[in-house]
C-alpha cells in the first residue's frame, strides 16, 4: 500500500523535473509563430544571431509618448530583445515629460531610440527591428569612423544651425558613431587623409579646382568612398569625377507635376526607390527641393538607381527660360535623382621578392542631384534623415542588417461613436447574458412543469422553502 504512494510521489517528482527542464529549454530557445497581419512582433534570425554577440550591458531607451499604443508596441518589441539576451535593458521615456533627459540624449523627434553599449552611443531612427538591430550591429563593431566633409567650395557648414546649415546632420553623424571632420582640399597638398572612412561633398557652390578633382579621383581609384550632392543651380560640373564610375550629371531642373510638395513643381517628392541597395532601406519617400537629373549607365552592373521621380516629371534644361510647363527641349521623366556605384576589383601587389598579396579594392559612390535636402530645413522631412544615414553607413561599410524587418501594426481605425458604444454595450452586457439567463429560466420552468405531475415519494416543498423560491424569482 505504501509502495504505490511512494511511486506516485516519485512520478510527481520526475514530472516536476521534466517540467522545469522543458520550461528552461523553451525559455532559452523560444521559437515563435507570428500570426499578426504585419508580422510586427517577431525578431528575425539575423537579429537572433546578432544578439548572441552582446556580452555586456546594453541599454535601449525609446523616446515615445508614454501610455500610447506606440509605447505599448515598442515595449513589446524591446521585451523580445531582452528575452533573447538578458544583457539588454530597455525603457520607454516620454520626451515631453522628461525634457532634460531628451536634451541629454539630443532627441529631436519622437520614436527615436538611443542605444548605449560599452560607453558608445548610437541612435536608431525608429522603434522597429531593422533599425534597432542595425544600431546594435554598429555598437558591436565598436569603432568610430571618421567621416571627412569637404569645405572650401562654398559648402554649407556643419556648425551652421540655420535652415541652410548642416548642424543637425553633424549631430546625426556623431550620434551614429561617426566622427565628422572637415577637410579642405583646395589648399596645400591635395590628398584625402587616410583616416577618412568616407568623403562627403555636400553641395559645393563653385567648381572644384583641378587639384581637388585629381585628389578625389585618385582617392576613388584606390578604393575610396565618396558622396557627392550637387545641383545645376550651383554651377558646378561634377562629371569628370563621376563619369568613370558610370554616373553622369545631366543638370537642369527636374519638375514633377504629379508629385511635389505644395504647388511648387520643383519641390519634388521622390517615391520611386527601387534599389535593393541598403541606402534605400526603410525609406519610402524623400523630399528633394529643386533637384537635377542624373544619367546612369545601367549597362555597368555596378551602378544602381537609388531614387527616381515619377513618369510625369521632366527635366527643364533651361529653368531660367520662364515657362515651367513641359515644352520642347525638356527631357521626359522619370528622372534619376540619386544613384550609387559599387565597384570592386582584385588588386595584386608585390610586397617583396616572391611575396605577392591579393586584396579586394572597393570603390563606393553615392550621387544625389540635389544639394539642399540634407540641410537643417529639410533633414527631418519625409525619409531624408534616414536616407542620408543609410548612405553614410553604406559608404563606410557599416551595412545595415538586411532583414525582413518587422513593421508596426497597421492602422485599423474604428471610431467609437456613442451610438456604436451604446450598441456594443447593449449586445454584450445586456442581450447576450440576458439571453443566457432567459434560457436558464425557461429550462427551469419546463423542468418544474414536468415535475408538476404528482409522483409518490416527492416531498412537498415546505412553506418556508416555497417562500424562499418566490423571493428568488
Amino acid at each position: 500500500m505504501r509502495r504505490s504512494r511512494r511511486r506516485l510521489f516519485l512520478a510527481a517528482a520526475l514530472a516536476g523535473t521534466a517540467l522545469i527542464i522543458g520550461n528552461v529549454a523553451a525559455y532559452a530557445h523560444n521559437p515563435q509563430l507570428d500570426l499578426s497581419a504585419e508580422s510586427s512582433f517577431s525578431l528575425s534570425a539575423q537579429t537572433t544571431t546578432l544578439l548572441t554577440r552582446v556580452d555586456h550591458p546594453l541599454a535601449i531607451i525609446a523616446f515615445l509618448t508614454a501610455g500610447g499604443p506606440e509605447a505599448a508596441d515598442a515595449s513589446y518589441l524591446l521585451a523580445r530583445y531582452q528575452e533573447l539576451n538578458h544583457y539588454i535593458h530597455w525603457s520607454v521615456v516620454d520626451p515631453d515629460a522628461n525634457p532634460g533627459e531628451a536634451r541629454r540624449y539630443g532627441i529631436s523627434a519622437y520614436s527615436t531610440v538611443v542605444l548605449s553599449y560599452q560607453g558608445r552611443r548610437v541612435t536608431s531612427p525608429d522603434v522597429q527591428e531593422g533599425d534597432i538591430s542595425t544600431a546594435i550591429l554598429r555598437l558591436l563593431r565598436g569603432r568610430t569612423e571618421t567621416v571627412c566633409v569637404l569645405t572650401g567650395n562654398g559648402e554649407p557648414s556643419l556648425s551652421d544651425s540655420g535652415p541652410n546649415g548642416l548642424s543637425d546632420l553633424s549631430v546625426l553623424l556623431s550620434q551614429n558613431a561617426f566622427a565628422p571632420r572637415t577637410i579642405d582640399l583646395t589648399l596645400g597638398v591635395a590628398a584625402v587623409p587616410p583616416a577618412c572612412a568616407a568623403v562627403l561633398e555636400l553641395g559645393p557652390q563653385q567648381s572644384l579646382p583641378a587639384t581637388e578633382v585629381a585628389a578625389l579621383e585618385s582617392y576613388l581609384r584606390g578604393g575610396g568612398r565618396l558622396m557627392v550632392l550637387t545641383s545645376s543651380l550651383s554651377g558646378t560640373d561634377p562629371n569628370p569625377l563621376l563619369s568613370p564610375w558610370g554616373i553622369g550629371f545631366v543638370g537642369g531642373l527636374v519638375l514633377d507635376p504629379a508629385r511635389s510638395e505644395g504647388v511648387d513643381w520643383s519641390d519634388v517628392v521622390v517615391q520611386d526607390l527601387p534599389s535593393l541597395n541598403p541606402v534605400d532601406q526603410g525609406v519610402s519617400s524623400l523630399q528633394f527641393p529643386a533637384p537635377s537629373g542624373l544619367l546612369v549607365n545601367t549597362a555597368q552592373g555596378s551602378v544602381s538607381v537609388l531614387a527616381s521621380t515619377s513618369p510625369q516629371s521632366y527635366i527643364d534644361p533651361n529653368p531660367q527660360s520662364g515657362s515651367v510647363a513641359f515644352g520642347p527641349g525638356d527631357v521626359p521623366g522619370p528622372v534619376v535623382v540619386a544613384a550609387a556605384a559599387d565597384v570592386s576589383r582584385v588588386v595584386t601587389s608585390t610586397a617583396g621578392p616572391g611575396i605577392t598579396s591579393t586584396h579586394v579594392e572597393r570603390t563606393r559612390l553615392v550621387v544625389v542631384g540635389c544639394d539642399t535636402w540634407m540641410t537643417n530645413g529639410f533633414l527631418d522631412n519625409l525619409g531624408n534623415r534616414r536616407f542620408f544615414a543609410n548612405a553614410v553607413a553604406w559608404l563606410t561599410d557599416q551595412d545595415s542588417l538586411v532583414v525582413a524587418t518587422s513593421q508596426p501594426p497597421g492602422n485599423r481605425p474604428l471610431p467609437l461613436t456613442p451610438a456604436l458604444q451604446f450598441e456594443l454595450l447593449g449586445i454584450t452586457v445586456f442581450a447576450v447574458p440576458g439571453a443566457l439567463i432567459s434560457l436558464a429560466l425557461l429550462r427551469a420552468a419546463v423542468v418544474r412543469r414536468q415535475e408538476k405531475e404528482p409522483v409518490p415519494g416527492r416531498t412537498r416543498p415546505s412553506p418556508n422553502r416555497r417562500r424562499r423560491r418566490r423571493r428568488r424569482r
Binding site: 509618448t65 508614454a66 501610455g67 500610447g68 499604443p69 505599448a72 508596441d73 515595449s75 513589446y76 516620454d94 520626451p95 515631453d96 515629460a97 522628461n98 525634457p99 532634460g100 533627459e101 531628451a102 536634451r103 532627441i107 529631436s108 523627434a109 519622437y110 537643417n376 527631418d380 424562499r468 428568488r472
Partner: protein, 150 residues
C-alpha cells in the same frame, strides 16, 4: 443561496484588483485631452499675459486662440520644474471671467521638439503641454520668444 452571494463578493474583490492594474501589453487608450481653461471667449472680461514687469491684455482675436485652452498632454513632472522652464515661469496667463475669480496659468519653456509649451496651474501638481502655435503670439506680446518649431 447565500453561498453564491458571498462568492460574488470574492469576484468583486478580484475585479477591483483587476481594475487597479491593467493587463500587460494592452494598448491603453490615451485619456481625453484635459481642458485647462473652459469657457468660450465671450465669457471672459479680459485675458492678460505678464512676464516680469511687462504686461499686456490680449486682443479679442488672440483670446479666441486661447479660450478654451485644451492641453495636448497631462503628466506629473518626473524632473525638476526648471527643466520645463517653470522655475521661474517665463510668463503668466490670467483669465478674468465676467463675475468670478480669475484663473491663472504659468507658462514655461518649449518641449524637446519645440512643438508644445509647458503650462501649469500655480501651485498645481500636474504639468500640461499646449500647442506652441496657440501660445506663441500671446507670449510675443510680452517679449517672450519661443523658438519656432523646426
Amino acid at each position: 443561496m447565500s453561498r453564491p452571494g458571498r462568492l460574488r463578493l470574492v469576484m468583486a474583490a478580484g475585479l477591483a484588483a483587476l481594475a487597479s492594474s491593467c493587463g500587460s501589453g494592452s494598448t491603453p487608450a490615451l485619456p481625453p485631452p484635459p481642458v485647462l481653461v473652459a469657457g468660450r471667449p465671450a465669457q471672459f472680461d479680459a485675458v492678460c499675459v505678464s512676464a516680469g514687469d511687462r504686461q499686456a491684455r490680449l486682443s479679442p482675436a488672440l483670446v479666441n486662440g486661447v479660450a478654451p485652452l485644451v492641453a495636448a498632454k497631462e503628466f506629473r513632472p518626473p524632473e525638476p520644474l526648471a527643466e520645463y522652464g517653470l522655475a521661474p515661469a517665463r510668463a503668466r496667463l490670467t483669465y478674468r471671467p465676467a463675475g468670478g475669480a480669475p484663473t491663472s496659468l504659468l507658462v514655461g519653456g518649449p518641449t524637446f521638439d519645440d512643438h508644445f509649451i509647458y503650462v501649469m496651474h500655480p501651485g498645481g501638481q500636474a504639468l500640461y503641454t499646449v500647442a506652441a502655435g496657440q501660445l506663441d503670439p500671446v507670449l510675443a506680446l510680452v517679449g517672450v520668444v519661443v523658438p519656432a518649431p523646426k
